[in-house]
């Protein structure tokens, strides 16, 4: 299976929500110790703890960057619990590809970044 679908490459080349939010000071950086990839993220929430906006910067492969981009679109309006409950299968289905165990680690880094960021705010 070609994991480099048009949609993944498009999100990699033009990631949505790319760039840190100027009005949020709290950003969190997560990294994948296996490859050194990093995602720095800021998440804005409304008074009901629902995600209002996301901004991120990353050094990573097409899978990790595209996942962060697609995830950012998907989690607006969701709660921390909603994000925590996403399984690796949910993430692969969002990407529309099946990943090997080592590449799943690339894909779930974004989810970890969002959760860590929300926990940091709480």
């Amino acid at each position: 299976m070609d994991i480099y679908s048009e949609i993944i490459l498009d999100h990699y080349k033009h990631p949505h929500h790319h760039g840190l939010l100027s009005d949020v000071k709290d950003h969190i950086t997560v990294h994948n110790p296996l490859c050194g990839d990093t995602i720095t993220i800021e998440v804005m929430t409304d008074p009901h703890d629902r995600i209002e906006n996301v901004g991120f910067e990353s050094t990573g492969c097409a899978i990790s960057t595209a996942t962060m981009s697609m995830l950012s679109d998907r989690i607006i309006g969701k709660t921390c619990e909603d994000v925590i409950q996403m399984t690796p299968e949910d993430i692969q289905s969002m990407l529309g590809v099946t990943l090997s165990p080592s590449r799943i680690k690339c894909a779930i880094l974004g989810q970890e970044a969002v959760v860590r960021s929300l926990e940091h705010k709480a």
Binding site: Y4, G36, A62
Partner: protein, 400 residues
């Protein structure tokens, strides 16, 4: 290479299309090594030393004979200078715990090169944290070789230990070990050489290069996983504390006192990796049969060819010295993450590595978070490089 050695490697025979370019991570195993391991398990498997029956005597003899094989291979004077460990990391940690922690103190310095793998970096960071000594970094020049002028300036009576790799696992830089040891010894500093990427590719002579400690692994030299070697000068090994306490390394044990066996047995606590040591002996003999100079020439031809071909790819940055570059080459491609390069190569059955290669300080120096890396072994050919180059063009097409 006079003949194609691929046929001697069952894994490469089973997958005849596989282009294996990750030899710096681990090499494949030839039949002669597998046969020796199989023979141990099926003909004379027994624990070594103290067994008063034939197969134990046989196993002990085979195990101890590898000490001689290894000593001769690296130019060591005496078999007692060869300690078997589980790998390079354990060998280096043995020096860190057994020697450095008791011979290095506050005010002293340990010099570590910027090229080092984490296994020759983190132990020294920890030793310095425990002892109060200072760790200083010998920097890399822009041509990917060590800055020997900076090294000369850093040397002083305060320096107790210099830690360098024989060959970088990222850039393939080959360090001038004899010069490094000569300069260090003028100040009384000891030198530990990480030979993990060296032994299977270049002649490594501990006597000629006057190394104080030399560490390497079996699995990067066509031997099995789980075995390594530490060589040390006799007076240094004699002054070292054991690191793994337990059976096999003790002389007498009573409630009042424990005495330890002589070097090298005192450093081999517990049942050692017997089958792996026996396999290591076969791997050394395999290398010697081909001849280290022949291997070196073959890999030099491949690395020159790869260097030239890779340099011609637009947007590709090569991290590999022109002079004294060994058979390991790292590169990056503009706008494409190394993981993606490796993943697309994998779809063409080409195995390359991508990541920080356990050398994060070096990645920082190179200004990248990761690189793609190819590394050759004796079975690689120019055709393997041609296949890689085609795959890299496919990578670019996908991402542009």
């Amino acid at each position: 290479m006079k003949k194609n050695l691929r046929s001697q490697f069952p894994l490469l025979q089973a997958d005849n299309e596989l282009v294996y370019l990750d030899n710096a991570a681990t090499t494949q195993t030839p039949s002669v090594v597998l046969d020796e391991i199989y023979k141990y398990y099926t003909k004379y498997r027994a624990n070594i030393h103290r067994g008063i029956y034939d197969i134990s005597e046989h196993a002990s003899g085979a195990y101890e004979q590898v000490r001689e094989i290894v000593a001769r291979f690296i130019g060591a004077d005496d078999i007692s200078q060869i300690i078997f460990t589980r790998g390079t990391t354990e060998s280096i940690n043995l020096v860190a715990h057994g020697w450095a922690e008791t011979h290095v103190q506050k005010g002293d310095e340990i010099l570590v090169s910027e090229l080092e793998h984490h296994s020759n970096f983190v132990p020294w960071y920890e030793v310095c944290k425990k002892t109060g000594a200072q760790m200083k970094i010998i920097s890399l020049s822009d041509d990917f070789t060590l800055d020997m002028d900076a090294y000369a300036r850093m040397l002083s009576k305060k320096v107790k230990l210099v830690c360098v790799t024989a060959i970088s696992n990222v850039t393939g830089t080959t360090n001038d070990i004899s010069t490094i040891t000569r300069m260090a010894h003028e100040y009384g500093a000891k030198v530990l050489v990480d030979g993990a990427q060296g032994v299977a590719h270049r002649s490594c002579d501990v006597e000629k290069d006057d190394m104080d400690f030399f560490a390497f692994s079996g699995h990067k030299m066509y031997g099995p996983t789980g075995v390594g070697v530490l060589y040390g000068k006799p007076e240094l090994l004699a002054s070292m504390d054991p690191f793994l306490y337990g059976g096999g390394m003790v002389d007498l044990v009573s409630l009042e006192e424990v005495t330890y066996r002589d070097v090298p047995t005192r450093f081999e606590g517990g049942t050692p990796p017997i089958a792996q040591v026996i396999g290591l002996g076969a791997a050394v003999q395999f290398i010697e049969t081909i001849g280290i100079q022949e291997i070196c020439n073959h890999e030099r031809m491949l690395s020159d060819y790869a260097h030239e071909k890779l340099s011609k790819i637009d947007g590709l940055t090569l991290f590999h010295p022109v002079i004294n570059g060994s058979s390991i080459l790292s590169f990056s491609m503009k706008g494409i993450h190394p993981h993606d390069i490796a993943a697309i190569c994998n779809t063409q059955n080409i195995a390359i590595r991508a990541g920080h290669h356990c050398a994060q300080p070096l990645m920082k120096r190179l200004g990248v978070s990761a690189t793609a890396r190819i590394s050759f072994g004796i079975y690689n050919t120019k055709e393997d490089i041609d296949a890689l180059i085609l795959a890299l063009h496919a990578v670019q097409e996908k991402f542009i």
